[in-house]
């Protein structure tokens, strides 16, 4: 288990580490001794961004989903120490934050490939051949099974429920790119665009 961010300066003293935070990280991280020191995200510019968000809602807690998005965008996934940091900046408990993180399907609680592919297979796409798209993707990315990352670390493929583009079956999301009308024949060309 390794954390994404690890710039040398992260340990610039323990002053940035909230009380109880390191404990939490090791208690849930499993491999406490191997875990690289966690670098806080909400410092400097990012903290200013978060504080700007506070002005849009009457409670700090309402910034929970946006804060989790910020973590995921910066770090690729939401680790236990990241959950601890978010809890601390918003005045919540880590357990509460984890409950929210795991409720929503788009937050990753483990690292994923460099490119994350979500394929819609709900009924409207299903009757238009979505399962063939899934099979072709698993084969051509090398992921082999749903939720797994390809050996080269390039892709992770998952099935998702309705992406809301049923008239353009089958839609897939590659990272933030929403691609419509995907068929097994188009997959090689699409994958080429993602290194």
């Amino acid at each position: 288990m390794s954390l994404t961010a690890g710039q040398g300066g992260s340990g610039a003293g323990s002053s940035g580490t909230p009380r109880g935070f390191a404990e939490h990280g090791s208690a849930h991280g499993g491999h406490g001794t191997e875990t690289a020191p966690y670098e806080r995200l909400f410092r400097g510019e990012r903290l200013a961004q978060l504080e700007q968000l506070f002005t849009l809602y009457p409670t700090k807690q309402a910034c929970l989903l946006p804060a989790l998005w910020m973590i995921q965008e910066a770090r690729g996934w939401i680790s236990e120490p990241a959950i601890g940091e978010v809890a601390e900046v918003l005045g919540l408990t880590p357990a509460y934050v984890k409950g929210v993180v795991t409720f929503y399907t788009m937050y990753h609680t483990h690292p994923v490939g460099r490119h994350f592919i979500q394929v819609c297979t709900t009924t409207p796409c299903n009757i238009c051949g979505a399962e063939d798209v899934v099979r072709a993707l698993l084969e051509q990315t090398g992921c082999r099974e749903l939720g797994a990352t390809s050996p080269d670390g390039r892709f992770t493929v998952i099935e998702v429920e309705c992406l809301g583009a049923c008239g353009f079956a089958t839609p897939i999301l590659v990272d933030d790119d929403f691609i419509e009308n995907v068929t097994p024949e188009k997959i090689a060309g699409i994958l080429q665009r993602y290194e």
Binding site: A62, L65, F103, Y107, T122, T123, E161, A165, G167
Partner: protein, 435 residues
């Protein structure tokens, strides 16, 4: 991509008039097309007069429930010193439905203008636009539109110099169908899990952050500027079927159809005209087997029921289903109904927020029983078991997610029982391998 089809002569494009026109996306482009005139007009009216105009129009909620919009607005308390909120439901996730996405992609200012008018009418200074996390493109386009409209003074601290403050804030979802349920959405905005709330209190009494709140669907709000400009009476006159369903409706058509897409029709248009004329009918050599007319949460209609169905709230109810969000899933004779009903049950089982036992257990067990049937291990008693489960899932939970799971199962057994029988009796090869 996803460029809309050219409008069919039988369509009545009001909301969709500028779909496919990239220039309509910018503030100036929208103003050139008559945009923001309705908002300017409203600022010279009293909020009560705005509500009255919407009441006159007969506009009903386009998210699925069909609740009269003017009435919903009028349930908000009068200026009581507390902050009021408007929430725009852009969490479009109902399988078969993809209309709100097109409204946001092509005409973001149409939606913003509708939001601003609604906020004015209910006395809200803030509008949260809750957009599902997967809608990466609409998220970007809507944010650009808000930035532009704010810079031009159409929304923000002082709307067109009127002294009125109406701020637009996008709240991005993170993957949860249930957040389209209005009270789950409120919880999600508050930074909580998206569990629906017990009503009462209704959102107009205690909504987001405990304050009076109105939640409206994207399409509902997008219709508002047109009603303000052309009058409630004009909108009310758009009704081919009956006077209780007025205006135009975007119907998303998908599945086994020649030309899938969004079609804007006058309420009361025959379903047959939509399928066979506007959408070009079935694929060559194929015939219609079933239609799910209102997004996946409504009962399945047989081809015979679709034959003379009128597309409005009452017309679809008369045929045993519901107009819902008007996401029409068309299925031809190649469709394995049992497999697709299983796939729908899997959707609901995955999306259950799990707080009500009937839903958490009922959706999961429905999936397992349907899997037994599909793996060739079905028994006659499974029919009654599925129906009993469905009965426990209908009208007995906090929200209607489990009712939505039961709807296709019950109607599927009623109308396509022979397909279940074929699996149970071994007349059909199992569709999945046994575990």
């Amino acid at each position: 991509m996803g460029y809309p089809h050219p409008s069919h002569p039988k369509e009545n494009p009001v909301l969709s008039k500028h779909f496919g026109d990239p220039e309509a996306r910018s503030f100036d482009g929208w103003v050139k097309r008559g945009g923001y005139e309705a908002l300017r007009k409203v600022l010279r009216m009293s909020p009560e007069a705005v509500v009255e105009e919407i009441k006159t129009s007969g506009l009903r909620g386009r998210g699925g429930a069909g609740f009269p919009t003017g009435l919903k607005w009028s349930l908000m308390p009068k200026a009581d010193g507390r902050p009021h909120y408007l929430v725009c439901n852009a969490d479009e996730s109902e399988p078969g439905t993809f209309k709100d996405r097109e409204i946001m992609r092509w005409t973001p200012h149409q939606l913003l203008e509708g939001c601003a008018i609604a906020a004015y009418a209910i006395g809200a200074e803030r509008c949260y636009i809750y957009i599902r996390g997967e809608f990466t493109e609409p998220l970007k386009i809507m944010q650009q539109a808000i930035d532009e409209a704010t810079a031009k003074g159409a929304v923000g601290a002082n709307v067109f110099g009127s002294g009125k403050r109406i701020e637009m804030i996008i709240h991005r979802g993170a993957g949860a169908y249930i957040c389209g349920e209005e009270t789950a959405m409120l919880n999600s905005i508050e930074g909580k899990r998206g569990n629906p709330r017990i009503k009462p209190p209704y959102p107009a009494q205690a909504g987001v952050f405990g304050m009076p709140t109105t939640i409206n669907n994207v399409e509902t709000l997008a219709a508002v500027p047109h009603i303000i400009m052309r009058g409630g009476e004009w909108y009310k006159g758009l009704a081919l079927g009956n006077p209780k369903s007025t205006g135009t409706k975007l119907i998303s058509v998908c599945g086994h159809i020649q030309r899938p897409g969004n079609y804007e029709v006058t309420m009361g248009t025959p379903m047959k005209e939509l399928i066979y004329e506007m959408c070009g009918g079935m694929r060559p050599g194929r015939t219609l087997k079933a239609v799910i007319p209102g997004g996946s949460s409504v009962p399945i209609m047989s081809a015979a029921e679709a034959e003379d169905c009128l597309l409005d709230y009452e017309g679809v109810v008369a045929k045993g289903s519901m107009l819902g969000s008007a996401g029409m899933i068309v299925m031809d004779d190649t469709t394995d109904m049992v497999y697709q009903i299983w796939r729908l049950a899997r959707f609901y089982a995955h999306e259950s927020c799990a707080q009500c036992t009937q839903c958490r257990e009922g959706t999961a067990w429905s999936v397992r029983i349907l899997e037994r049937i599909l793996t060739g291990k079905g028994k006659q008693e499974h029919f009654q078991l599925l129906l009993d489960l469905s009965d426990n899932m209908t009208g007995k939970t906090i929200c209607v997610l489990s009712d939505s799971c039961a709807a296709p199962i019950v109607s599927g057994i009623q109308k396509f029982r022979h397909e279940f029988e074929a699996y149970i009796q071994g007349a059909r090869e199992p569709a999945m391998a046994g575990v």
